[in-house]
């Protein structure tokens, strides 16, 4: 088990990581989710031992490893850039961690071939990394991490520089590849969808703080606060400041939406309601959907979906609508909010009520 106890990292005047405590179980897959500069990499460097924390301590299997050098910790790391030894062949690259450890020739050969087979690199063992595609280069880096047999594997946005198709492919394989090893996996990403696809646990990060840590699906469905909800939403979360009064959410004295049953316990008064873009639709098929009049801004088509940006009572919202819609800009349309998925937050950002468990 890897434990961070109140670790903090301050560089000059900047606090890269605010006092953070976190416990990661062996054999678990943990996602660090947050935008660029939210502290994911800094936290990973602290976990790895590449940096020593300004305050706090790092414990591994009940031992304080804060001062232990990175090469003595059994850590493997894969980066966003494809990091391999440029002048060595794929074979030698994969073998390098074991050569440094001084493993014997037969073991090295066996392990290298096993890892190469697993990552479909066998035909390329004699090439140098520069003669490989991006996906193959990253596979080589992953193979190096595998043969190391590390107890902590850190993957820092490993798929960010790959094209869409390769990304999908590797993302599906990654959990399987590492599943057998029983190591602790930490996977940093900026994409909420990636966290959901990987499953496991997720820690959402914002400005050097972990805002919430728990099972990925729980964090997604029941965020503790608005910040977490926003971090875990792409396209961005739709939110609006309203006042709850007489069973209605109102804005500027006008009633907007009937309060759905799961939020009926809420005290009357101001709050922020929020929902994901795919809970806004052009049709009223879903039970509990409420119609709203909104003005369209722009509409973008992304594959088989459309992002429709709309303005409603001064708030800018995004609607993710399946199918391709040809929507005129600056037109009045009726959109439907699926109120069963409405989240409510207090004015301090803390969650007041979340939707009951159901398909997200």
């Amino acid at each position: 088990m890897l434990e961070l106890r109140h670790v903090e990292k301050i560089v000059g005047r900047d606090t890269h990581v605010h006092a953070t405590s976190l416990a990661l179980e062996r054999g678990s897959l943990n996602v660090l989710l947050g935008p660029t500069l939210s502290g994911k990499t800094s936290l990973m460097r602290l976990m790895a031992g590449l940096d020593t924390p300004t305050a706090g301590s790092v414990w591994f299997d009940g031992k304080d490893v804060t001062g232990v050098r990175v090469q003595d910790r059994g850590v493997a790391m894969v980066y966003q850039q494809f990091i391999n030894y440029p002048a060595l062949t794929v074979y030698e690259n994969i073998a390098s961690p074991m050569r440094i450890k001084g493993a014997d020739k037969a073991t090295i050969d066996r392990e290298v071939r096993k890892a190469a087979e697993l990552l479909k690199l066998t035909p390329y063992l004699d090439r140098t990394p520069l003669n490989l595609s991006g996906g193959q280069q990253q596979r080589t880096a992953l193979a190096r991490a595998i043969v190391k047999n590390a107890s902590l594997v850190l993957l820092d946005e490993p798929l960010a520089n790959l094209d869409y198709k390769l990304r999908e492919e590797l993302r599906l394989e990654l959990p399987k590849i590492f599943a057998a090893s029983g190591a602790i996996f930490v996977y940093a990403t900026t994409e909420p969808s990636e966290a959901l696809l990987l499953g496991g646990n997720t820690a959402t990060m914002s400005e050097g703080r972990i805002t919430q840590f728990g099972r990925t699906i729980d964090v997604y469905r029941r965020p503790n606060d608005l910040l977490t909800a926003r971090t875990f939403a792409d396209p961005p979360l739709n939110a609006m400041d309203v006042v709850k009064r007489n069973g209605q959410f109102t804005a500027g004295d006008r009633p907007l939406l009937a309060v759905p049953p799961h939020l009926s316990q809420l005290a009357d008064g101001p709050c922020t309601i929020a929902f994901h873009p795919h809970h806004l639709s052009l049709s009223s098929q879903a039970p509990g959907s409420a119609p709203l009049q909104a003005r369209t801004a722009i509409s973008e088509i992304a594959g088989s979906e459309s992002f429709v940006h709309i303005e409603f009572e001064g708030s800018r919202w995004v609607m993710l609508s399946p199918g391709i819609h040809d929507i005129e800009p600056d037109a009045l349309i009726t959109v439907h909010v699926d109120t069963r998925h409405l989240m409510a937050f207090g004015m301090d950002g803390r969650a007041l009520g979340a939707p009951v468990a159901m398909a997200a």
């Binding site: 790895a48 590449l50 090469q71 790391m77 980066y79 990091i83 030894y85 002048a87 390098s96 440094i100």
Partner: protein, 287 residues
Amino acid sequence: MDKTWNNKAWFMVLPVLLLVAFSAVIPLMTVVNYSVQDTFGNNQFFWAGTDWFTQVLDSARFWDSLVRNLAFSAVILAIQIPLGIFIALNMPRHGLGVPVCLIFMALPLLIPWNVVGTIWQLLCRADIGLVGWGLTQLGFPFAYAADPVDAWVTIVVMDVWHWTSLVVLLCYAGLVSIPEAYYQAAKIDGASRLAVFRYIQLPKMKRVLLIAILLRFMDSFMIYTEPFVVTGGGPGSSTTFLSIDLVKMAVGQFDLGPAAAMSIVYFLIVLLLSWIFYTVMTQGDQA
């Protein structure tokens, strides 16, 4: 598909063509012209064919100078490339040290060549020079004007002082372009300092090193000004390189034909050696 030709495009390259013609092609052709003819002044020319070339290639003077040139370039590369890499590796990467080091490194490169020659000539003089006089006082008699070894040492040290910076700056540029993640990955692997140099820094510096080696080779092979100022090619002819010899022949003796023939041979040698260097060093890049 038919390509559309737009002849107006030629006007765009015309200025460059003219510039190259006047700066390179026409002077070169003049040299070619001199190399195959003989003249006694008065603009009278007589066809000489390949006579000048055979005369130059048969002369011991040419081959001696060529050997001196090759030896000098070999010594210069052997010292400046490793030294340049070593200094670049030890230069700071962050903070105030960076601009300070860069300025100190760039200083020698900014000094005109004949001034560099004069500086070192004064410095090494046995009667008034700090280095020359000092060494002599310490019991190491030093006289670049009398002893060929001393003359060579002076010129080599001067060239190292003058040009190592170029190698340093190129290598430094190559080094700072290596992403931090490489060093981190090596650290996680537990790779030694030597392994980092051998397997990360050196391969990543390969391209700039190629440029550094080519530039330093060509420059050192064509060295003229500094030895001309310091030793004037002496003592004897111990520091007479091809370029110095060439000028002696063309300007001193006014043997324009042989000098032109020698220029062309000299040019072809530089071209050939540069091409060999380039081919050998880029060979590994093709898959």
